[in-house]
Symmetry: D2
């Protein structure tokens, strides 16, 4: 792991049987899990974990979307390419492309917010801590 800020990550993955539905294809809700899986791998590549029980804050999603172009089927291999497209004071926005070989499968986008998470208190938005901010860059 280098000290350079991280702006993107490519995850290789195979479709698991429990991710398919009776239509014979990956259930549309599972694409959001693929996108999250790629995001957390990006955080690890930056030397961070997105979920630290003792930190007192977390990263709830505030927006998530996917446009679906082609289906994915059991055992197919695909790539989830995630990149950071914006960093604001309290939020990070990613874009994500799923592809199988040269075929674009789906295009996603989601935004997470930094929020304090203390027991018995409502979550509240807060500025991204500078030591975390410093580990990420917007993809040029």
């Amino acid at each position: 792991m280098s000290d350079a800020p991280v702006c993107e990550h490519r995850l290789r993955r195979r479709v698991q049987f429990y991710e398919t539905d009776a239509g014979g294809i990956v259930h549309f809700s599972v694409y959001f899990r693929y996108m999250e899986e790629a995001e957390h791998a990006l955080w690890r590549a930056a030397g961070l974990s997105i979920h630290d029980r003792d930190a007192g804050f977390g990263w709830p999603r505030v927006h998530a979307s996917f446009d679906y172009h082609r289906p994915l089927r059991f055992e197919e291999e695909f790539e989830a390419w995630i990149r950071i497209v914006a960093i604001e004071e309290k939020t990070i926005t990613y874009a994500c492309v799923l592809s199988r070989a040269d075929t674009k499968i789906a295009t996603g986008r989601f935004t997470i917010a930094c929020a304090s998470c203390r027991p018995n208190e409502p979550m509240r938005g807060m500025a991204i801590p500078p030591e975390i901010r410093a580990r990420f860059a917007v993809q040029p």
Copy 2:
């Protein structure tokens, strides 16, 4: 069940434990399952099933999104209110609001496309069959 076309549906639901994550709240991908659950209940209210193995066509999603306003927690009761906001030649678009009592939890939107699904052939968009089209109306 009446013969009148259907334009909306309200589903009452309780959060299940397996829908939560280590952040202590419902995982963001599960909201899409809630929206789908409400959609299928709307279809049943129209006298239809969205998944008919012998029909030769199905309803893949082409777009799905959620904006998240508040978290949901284990055992909380909520309502998923889905309504049809557009019907085109080959697609149906829904809007969906999740709420807990008077609190708006999340706002979703998704579009499904009618597509022929024959074994060993790629899915292909097709016009919505008139007998299905006739069962639905756009919410005024």
Copy 3:
């Protein structure tokens, strides 16, 4: 809700699309979620919640099994009948039968243990608190 101890519960449920797999039937792992859903409804019928963030203890599973007799398909309605078959000092054991009309679908069994869950400490088995023990009975 009466004050009498609770020993069983019957949950009515419909199969959701996201619970099916590419084999066209409910994925075998989902049966464990149905069993858990019935268990938590049984706890609510006893006036309790199985997951209390402030309690300092929880109920991890120590054993879970299912024998599968018949498949379940999308939109089928079924019943999950759960009953308490044993209460030991630290554990509760349930049996669960899933059925669709008169057809037995599957037979499950699982055991939960009472365990202290304090931040940064390993879970440790503990005696079931008497006020919880008093709310349950073994089905005769």
Copy 4:
């Protein structure tokens, strides 16, 4: 891939966030998905796919169980070691051990049956085809 029959497989895996629950650990139903994931990797190592849409038969589970020894948490790495412990005329039985470094996490067991799956007919048990039988061996 060699021509020798396959009797076991070891899968390396990391816990994903969507696999955890509000108790802060992997949901107990997810262990069954890990076991299945290892099984399908074993089949691929044998040059086979467990789900072939055109085969006219499939492999429903008839029994599945887990004993849980220790929890798994977000981002922990673990191994799922699956081995074939019995092959009968119509069924295959596996044992599976999940471990994290030297810690045994859980011990599973499940049995699948070969069954004809034709549209609009009930599943029916059938003898394992010899070309599939020949690819597997019971672990000595």
